[in-house]
Symmetry: none
Subunit: 75 residues, 3 copies
């Protein structure tokens, strides 16, 4: 029996983990900017809310794609 290493699990987990690094930081940066902008100019909250959710969603999408990728390439 050839055992390469007594490790178990799918490398897809590592792929998702790497894919989540950037979005985890990016989502935090987007909301941090929205919090500071709203605190300084409360009347702008409605105007920038659209872009806060847009920026968050576009950043988060990269991590969610990382979740789907192993199914495409084979788990």
């Amino acid at each position: 029996m050839d055992v390469l290493a007594e490790l178990t699990g799918s490398i897809g987990s590592v792929g998702y983990g790497l894919a989540a690094i950037g979005p985890g930081i990016g989502v935090g940066i987007v909301w941090a900017a929205y919090i500071q902008a709203t605190a300084r100019q409360p009347e702008s909250a409605g105007l920038t809310r659209t872009y806060a959710f847009l920026g968050f969603a576009l950043s988060e999408a990269l991590a969610l794609i990382g979740f789907v990728v192993p199914f495409v390439f084979g788990t």
Copy 2:
């Protein structure tokens, strides 16, 4: 029996570890922004609290997904 390295454990642990890097930083950035915004404009604390918790939760979720992912792809 050919053993490449006498390592044990599941690679899922590495997956979670990587997935926790981004959210660990992102959550810190969100709360840092809320602390600074509240210190400067205390009257905005109620207005931005919603977004502080929202941003924290959305960033933290990526790490928690990283905890679930190995169960999906196989531990």
Copy 3:
């Protein structure tokens, strides 16, 4: 038995090590923000202290989960 590399131990250690990177930075960012906010507006120290501890705990938790994860996935 052919051993290619004389590595021993569990990959869970690597998982925890990776999981500690983000929270290590995130906790530092939270306290740095609290220090600067308190230095600038000393009267806000009581108001923001709650969120400093909250942000610190929520970020630190990700590293502590990384400590538990290998027991769940197999050490």
